[in-house]
Amino acid sequence: MTRWWTIAFVCVALSSSMARAVQPNEVLADPALEQRARSISAGLRCLVCQNQSIDDSDAPLARDLRVLVRERLKSGDSDAEAVKFIVARYGEFVLLSPPFSFSTALLWFTPALLLLFGIYFIYRSSRIPMTTVKTSDALSEDEQEQLKKIVGT
């Protein structure tokens, strides 16, 4: 039950003050820069929460990361450089969208593989003659009659 229990609980428990993610004093004066900071934050994981981005998290560590991202942007980093800076310190675990690599190849190929497999499966089944096979599992006359009554046609 309570699908939210864990995320909610962990983050509520962790936040000493019930501050809601981004705080007024963190917001940058330049709206364009702030917007960039927000979209970067949405892709970075709060390391002590479950599946929450630092943008949504109340944990103090998430706040530190948000401030860090903003500092990098203010000092002139590009978005990619700012992310690289964070990843260099906290590892790729911090990225909510894991980068393509040997160990994530299967993850990223999943949609295509599933689709191809599905299409192959459908193609193969459609090649099998679809005529009704009269085998022992066919209905007897009695059962046909019963079926008609139940189905009502």
Partner: protein, 662 residues
Amino acid sequence: MIVEAGHFALILALAIAVVQTCVPFWGARIGDERLMQMAVPAAFSQFALVLFAFVALIWAFVVSDFSVTNVYENSHSAKPLIYKISGTWGNHEGSMVLWVLILALFGALVAAFGRNLPMRLRANVLSVQGAISLAFLIFIVATSNPFIRLDPAPFEGKGLNPILQDPALAFHPPFLYAGYVGYSLAFSFAVAALIEGRIDAAWARWVRPWTLAAWSFLTVGIALGSWWAYYELGWGGWWFWDPVENASFMPWLAGTALLHSAIVMEKRDSLKIWTVLLAIVTFALSLVGTFLVRSGVLTSVHAFAVDPERGVFILAIMVIFTGGALTLYAWRAPALRAGGVFAPISREGSLILNNLLLTAACGVVFVGTLYPLALEAITGEKISVGAPYFNATFLPLIMPLLLAMPFGPMLAWKRGDMAAAFQRLLAAAVIAFIAGIAVLASQERGPWLAPIGFALGIWLIGGAISEITSRCRLFEVPLRETISRLVNLPRANFGSALAHLGVGVAVLGIVGTSAWQVERIAALKPGEKIEISGYTLSFQGVTPSRGPNYKELIGTFEVASNGEVLATLLPSKRVYSAPRTQTSEVGILATWAGDVYIAIGDDLGEGAYSVRAYFHPLVRLIWIGALIMAFGGVLSLADRRLRVGAPRRSKIAPARGLATSG
């Protein structure tokens, strides 16, 4: 005393489950009618006993009997009555009893309404249902017994996590469970059919109403959870691709595919093997969900390895039932082959496309949810798979589905006419196209996906309406005939059109709030104002207040538009005493255009408070859409043809012929 009686009833239910599993199954083997008949009283008494146990547990919570460990751990005497009751299933042990209760309820319903089922099939279905019950009852008694006493009894309980003390969340678990435990029947029917070695159109007709009912409950359950997150977590997120959410979303996707493939099987006698497989997979995903949420594996693989008792137990249940069913499937399925011929462009073809995309989307959610766990378990490497991954993979699979959706009901069985179908959808297509262009033209900011998404939503709504108007041939025949066709239209047709319309409505809400949400974060002192999306929010000040088990600080905000005061919103910050936790209650002004949403945060000193204000355009449509979908399901269920145990209706059968084409 009542608690002991409940405990005893639970153990007795376990004993009955053994009988329900073995006796009817054996009866079906040797063809003994009396043994098969045992399934019915066994299912009834099983339900009665689990119900008694559950009520006894509720009673212990209501009277705050802290000599029961589970009550002590999860309740508090100062809690309002409703949360004492909902606290029963707000914890692991209680929620597992609810799980089994719903399982037993569905078993009892089959026993009660399944009189027209062939006796062997019913015996086997109830036997499989009994086996699932048995497994979970052993799990409860062995690892998660809610009736364990505590001596000496503590004076006061530890309390329920305040974040769960909420009306939407009180009813979220029962709905969710009614949904994914309800799929157990599709599973039981599938396994029973495999044991028998035969499946026909009638089988699909029996399975479909149960699946439909479960699906409707699950839809409402998921919507309630999402709505709760929206107003409780303080910033208006409604879906996070959290593993716990995915756990309920996977059975929903698979169940949706199952509903559709069962139609093909019922009407055209094809896709049998696939439908049986889907029925097994859907419930297997419910078990996966239970495992993910209940085992603690999500917190971390490490924590799971330290205290694996419960997790390993559920994992074993999952492996035994899924593995067993799939083995049976591999062994028996080749004997089931039979079906009608159809062209790619046909109702069948469209439903196969639906199944392809839905199962692929479900597979993506499955892999994305479990990949980090599997990778860490195998290589020790830790990665995160979050919202950006799911958005990037799920959307490309689901958008073609939405695009194709209105075509399905417009195509004829066996061989459809695409041009004719498109002609009937022309009005919907034109309106959707214009809507998309209008959005594109008026949109100052927001992603490029927004106009496409918005047009898709309109397309779905228009398509659903076109389906009804073309079925009753509006403007083609005299109005009188149209009305009589409309009245005679089977409810199942209305139901499916309504469910499709609900998807469109939800899509509009999702696009609106994701693309055009506006946010203001500010430090406000009493008397100060902020502007958001044409609304002026003036902060009047804060007042302290006190509830039954919390203290709160209420902020007062006046919401005005064009100088006219529309509402006073009272967001607050609560501090609960047991357990000591802070929560925030947001203030929401709901309008059709969107929600004005205010949350108040910390005292920043010098009389200023941290205030977060949002405008969430069209957000309500997400949940309204979900409710419309569920209502469509219920309406279909009310169709005579599907009603379980409906009296035989050979007399009126011919009258229906002309109104239905599908």
